[in-house]
Amino acid sequence: MFHLFNFPLAPPAASNFAKEHDLVFYTLCALTVLFCVIVGAGVIFFSIYYRAGNKVDRSRPMYENLKLELTWTFIPLLLGIVVFWMGARLFVEMKTPPKDAQEIFVVGKQWMWHVQHTNGVRENNTLHIPIGKPVKLTMISQDVIHAFYIPAFRVQMHVVPGRYTQLWFTATEPGAYHLFCGMYCGTQHSEMGGTVYAMEPKDYANWLANGGEETVPMTMTQAGEKIYNRVGCNNCHANVSTPRAPSLLGIYNTKRVFTDGTSLVANEEYLRDSILHPWNHITNGYDESMPAYDGQLSESDVLNLIAYIKEMGTSTGKSAPSSLGNAEGAATRATGHDVHDTLSVGAIQANVPDPNPTPTLRKDTPAVGAIAAEGNK
C-alpha cells in the first residue's frame, strides 16, 4: 500500500531525447497555464464584476474590434508556430538515427516482444542495451499493429506487419525502465510489456558475451554439484562408502537391495524418491534413513542433483563433469532454447545470479536462429 502515497509527477528521464522532449513539454505546460489563467481570470472577473444587478459602468459596450481580433489571432498563431518548430525539430532528430548506431531487431507478436541482438542472443519482453551508445531498433510485427514504447526514453513507434519501422535512442542513465505496447493489440495488450535494462557498456558486453545472462550459465551438472555441496550431501556420501552412507559414485542404474529384501534399479525415479523420502527404502547394511529433503529442495534442484549423480558414474572424480557441462551449456544458450517463449504475467524473467560463478567467457557464440526461423510460429 506504500505506493498509494507516492505521487510521481514526471517519468524518469533516461535517454538523449528526454531533455529536449521535456523542454518542449514544459514550454507547452507554461503556455497552457498562461492561457488558462488569462481566460480564467477574464471569465471570473467579468462575470462577477458585470453580474446583473451590479451597478457598474457599462457605457459604450464593444461588439467588434478588429485590432483586438487580430491580436488574439496572431499571438496564438505565432506562439503555435514556435512550438510547432520545437516539436518538429525534435521529431526529425528522432527520425534520423546516427550511422554508427548499434542495431537490435525486434519482433512484436500477440502478446510478447521478441528481441534479437546481432550476435544471436535473444530475449523476450526485456531489452538490454548499453548506455552512452546510440541503439537503433528495426522492428516488425508478425500479426497486428503494436507500438514499442519506452516512456523513460520518450520514444515510441508503431510496429507494423509487412514493413520495418525504426526507432533509435541513446540511453543515458543505467537502470530498469518500463517497456510497453502502446497500440491496442487484442486481449492481453496490457501485458505485452516488460523491462528495458540500460547497462554500463562493460556490463552490457559481459551480458552479451554470456549469451544473455548476467553471469556464465551453469549446466545442470554444475548446478547439481553446487546443491550437492550446499545442502551437505558430501558430509556423508563420500568417494567411498562409509558406515553412515554409501558412496554415490556409479550408483546410477545399479541394483539396490533393501533391508526388507526387495530391490530396485537406481534410476531417476528411485534417486528422486531417495532424496525426498529416504525412509521408503533403506539399503541393506544401513540402519537408518538419511534426513528427508522433501520440502527443502525444489523439483528443479532435484533434477539438477540427479543429473550430477548420473555424471558421477561416468568419471572418477566429482569435479570431472564440469568442463564437459560448460560446452553443452553454451550450445543450449546459443540456440535460445532456454529463452522462455511463454509470457509470464508481466514479470520479468529473473536470471538468478550465481553466488559462485565460474569465470568462463564464451567469446564466439554462434548466431543461430534468425528472426525468420521463428517466423512460422
Binding site: 464593444m62 461588439y63 525539430r89 518500463h178
Partner: protein, 579 residues
C-alpha cells in the same frame, strides 16, 4: 422588432390555462409519434434514444473506472474489459456524441431560429431517426451477441483478421447510423439556405446556426469516407478481400489514413455544435451581442475546412512519412487558432454584460474552462516531438475527454437546460440545476485531470492491468472517485428534469429573456411553429444593455415594449450602436 410585436401578448398568458394545442398535445397515439414528420417530435425521439445509449455507454465507463482502481483488475477478464471499453467508445461516439446536439437541439431549434415551419425534408428527417435506430440496434445487438474487442477505432488487421468479436454486425450498425448523419446534414444545409424567414440574412443568423451549418458540411463530406472504410473492413473480414491486411497483400496504414480522414473531422462534428450552443448561452445570459460575431461565425467554417487537413496528426508514429507528419503538425497548430478566437470572443462578450448565473450559464462558464484546457492540451499532441511520448497514453484519453465531455457534453447539458422549457413547457428546479452544474464541473476535473499526469508518466491507454507499474494507482483511484461524482452530476439532472415534467411550473414563452425567434412563440411551440412567418428586422442578439442598466435581474426588455429607454448611467441620450 416586428417579429416580437405579434407575439408579445403571449408572454403574460399562461399557456396551459386555455388548453392551447402545441406539438406535444396535438395527438397522443404512439403512431403519431413514430410516423411524425414534425422536426420537434423527431428531436424528442432523438433525445430519448440518445439518452438511452448514453446511459449504456455510461455504465460501461463505470465498469472501466471500477476495474482500474486495482492494478490487477477487480472482477473482469481482460477480454471482457476490452469489450467494455470498446462498447464505451462505440456507444458514446457513434450513438451519442455525433448525433446528440445536431439531432436533438439542431432539429428542434434550427427551424425555429430561422423562422421556418419545419426542416426542408421532413420525411428524410424521420428516415434519419430510423436509420439511427437501426444502426444503434445493430450496435447493441453486436454487444449483446458477444461484443467487439477492437476499440472504437477498429484498427486493421486486428479488426479484419484477428478479432473474434461481433465486428461485422457492429460495423454494419455504424455504417447505417452514418447515413442518419448524412441525411441530417443535408437537411440542415438546405434548410438554412432555402427556408430562412424574410429579413433573416446570413449575418442575422444566430451563431448556433452557423455552427450547425459547419457541422452539416463535415457530416456530408466526411461520413461517406468512413462508411466506405468500414465497408472495406467488412469485405476483408468476410471475404478476405485484400485491402488492408499485409497477409493478403494490403496496407494497414491505409486504413488509418481513411479512418482518420473522417474521424478527425468527426471530432469537430462533436464539438462545433457545442461551440454554437455556448455562443447562444454566453450572448443571452450576458444580455449582450456576441463580441466579434463575424469572427466567431467564420471560425466555425475555418475549423470545418482546416479540420479536413489534419488527420495525419493521429499517425505521427504510425510509419507515415516524416515530411507528411510535419505538414500535418503545422496545419494542426493552425486549426487551434479559430478555437482560440472563439474563446477570446466569448470572454470579451462578458465584458460590460449583465451576467445572470442561471443554470445554463453555469454550464457555459464551465465549458469555457474545460474546453480551454482540453484545447490547449491538444497542442501537446499536435507537436510532433511530444506526441511521440504522449500518444496512445492516458494523456490522450484525458485530452479528448476534456474536449468531448468537458466541451461537448457540458454544452449538451447547457443546451438541455436552456431549451428544456421551450421543448417541454415546464421549468425545472433551478437550485438543483445549479448544484448539478457545480457537481459536474468538480466531478469532471477530478476524473480526468489525474489522467493527464498518469499519461505523462507513460501509462498506455486501453490497459486492463498495470500491476507492473503500481506507481500509477493513486491517480487511477482519484480518477475513479471523480467518476462517481461525475455520475452524480449526470444522474441529478435526469431526476429533476423528469420531475419537472410531472410537477414543474409552466414555462412562459421566454423564461430567460433571451433573444431569438424561438423565444417569440409559445412554450411548447405549436406544431406549425409560427402562425404567420415572422419578418425579421432586428439584428441578432439585439439586446440593449444601456436600457437594462437600471433593471432588476430576471426581467426582460420585451416587458418594456419596443422603445426601451436609452438612458445611460450619465443620463445621456445615446443612440444604439449597430454595426
Amino acid at each position: 422588432m416586428s417579429a416580437t410585436a405579434t407575439t408579445t401578448g403571449q408572454i403574460h398568458e399562461e399557456p396551459g390555462g386555455g388548453k392551447e394545442t402545441n406539438y406535444l398535445n396535438v395527438t397522443h397515439t404512439i403512431k403519431s409519434w413514430l410516423l411524425t414528420q414534425d422536426h420537434k417530435r423527431i428531436a424528442i425521439l432523438y433525445m430519448v434514444s440518445t439518452a438511452f445509449f448514453f446511459l449504456l455507454g455510461g455504465i460501461a465507463a463505470g465498469l472501466i473506472r471500477y476495474e482500474l482502481t486495482s492494478p490487477a483488475g477487480v472482477m473482469l477478464e481482460s477480454e471482457t474489459y476490452n469489450k467494455v471499453f470498446s462498447a464505451h467508445g462505440i456507444l458514446m461516439i457513434f450513438t451519442f456524441l455525433v448525433p446528440a446536439i445536431p439531432a436533438i437541439f439542431g432539429n428542434f431549434v434550427l427551424p425555429l431560429m430561422i423562422g421556418a415551419r419545419d426542416v426542408a425534408f421532413p420525411k428524410l428527417n424521420l428516415m434519419s431517426w430510423y436509420l439511427y435506430m437501426t444502426g444503434g440496434s445493430l450496435i447493441l445487438w453486436g454487444i449483446l451477441a458477444g461484443g467487439v474487442d477492437t476499440g472504437w477505432t477498429f484498427y486493421v488487421p486486428l479488426s479484419s483478421m484477428y478479432s473474434n468479436g461481433q465486428v461485422t454486425i457492429t460495423l454494419v450498425g455504424i455504417f447505417i447510423a452514418g447515413f442518419s448523419s448524412i441525411t441530417t446534414g443535408i437537411n440542415f444545409v438546405v434548410t438554412v439556405h432555402k427556408m430562412r424567414a424574410p429579413g433573416m440574412t446570413w449575418f442575422r443568423l444566430p451563431l448556433f446556426i452557423w455552427a450547425m451549418y459547419a457541422t452539416s458540411v463535415i457530416m456530408i463530406l466526411g461520413t461517406p469516407v468512413v462508411a466506405v472504410t468500414l465497408l472495406c473492413v467488412i469485405f476483408e473480414r468476410a471475404f478476405h478481400l485484400p485491402i488492408f491486411s499485409p497477409e493478403l497483400g494490403g496496407d494497414p496504414v491505409l486504413f488509418q489514413h481513411m479512418f482518420w480522414f473522417y474521424s478527425h473531422p468527426a471530432v469537430y462534428i462533436m464539438i462545433l455544435p457545442g461551440f454554437g450552443v455556448i455562443s447562444e448561452l454566453i450572448a443571452n445570459f450576458s444580455r449582450k451581442r456576441i463580441f466579434g460575431y463575424h469572427f466567431v461565425a467564420f471560425s466555425s467554417l475555418a475549423i470545418a475546412g482546416l479540420g479536413f487537413l489534419v488527420w495525419g496528426h493521429h499517425m505521427f508514429v504510425s510509419s507515415q512519412s516524416m515530411y507528411e507528419g510535419i505538414v500535418f503538425s503545422l496545419i494542426s497548430f493552425l486549426v487551434a487558432v479559430p478555437s482560440a478566437i472563439k474563446i477570446f470572443n466569448w470572454t470579451a462578450t462578458l465584458y460590460k454584460g449583465h451576467i445572470r448565473f442561471q443554470a445554463p450559464m453555469l454550464y457555459a462558464l464551465s465549458f469555457m474552462g474545460l474546453f480551454t484546457l482540453g484545447g490547449l492540451t491538444g497542442l501537446f499532441l499536435a507537436s510532433m516531438g511530444t506526441d511521440v511520448h504522449l500518444t496512445n497514453t492516458y494523456f490522450i484519453v484525458a485530452h479528448f475527454h476534456y474536449v468531448m465531455v468537458g466541451g461537448q457534453m457540458t454544452a449538451y447539458m447547457g443546451a438541455l437546460h436552456y431549451w428544456w422549457p421551450k421543448m417541454t413547457g415546464r421549468m425545472y428546479h433551478e437550485g438543483m440545476a445549479k448544484f448539478a452544474a457545480l457537481i459536474l464541473f468538480i466531478g469532471f476535473n477530478l476524473t480526468f485531470f489525474p489522467q493527464f499526469i498518469v499519461g505523462w508518466l507513460g501509462m498506455p491507454r486501453r490497459y486492463h492491468y498495470y500491476y507492473f507499474a503500481p506507481e500509477y494507482q493513486p491517480y487511477h483511484i482519484m480518477s475513479s472517485l471523480g467518476a462517481s461524482v461525475l455520475a452524480l452530476g449526470f444522474g441529478l439532472p435526469a431526476f429533476y428534469l423528469i420531475a419537472s415534467l410531472i410537477n414543474g411550473p409552466k414555462a412562459s414563452a421566454n423564461p430567460w429573456g433571451a433573444h431569438g425567434l424561438e423565444w417569440n412563440i409559445a412554450s411548447p411551440p405549436p406544431t406549425e411553429n409560427f402562425l404567420e412567418i415572422p419578418i425579421v428586422t432586428d439584428e441578432v442578439y439585439d439586446f440593449d444593455p444601456t436600457s437594462e442598466f437600471e433593471q432588476e435581474a430576471g426581467t426582460h426588455r420585451i416587458m418594456h415594449g419596443d422603445a426601451p429607454g436609452l438612458q445611460t448611467k450619465d443620463g445621456d441620450k445615446k443612440p444604439m450602436e449597430d454595426k
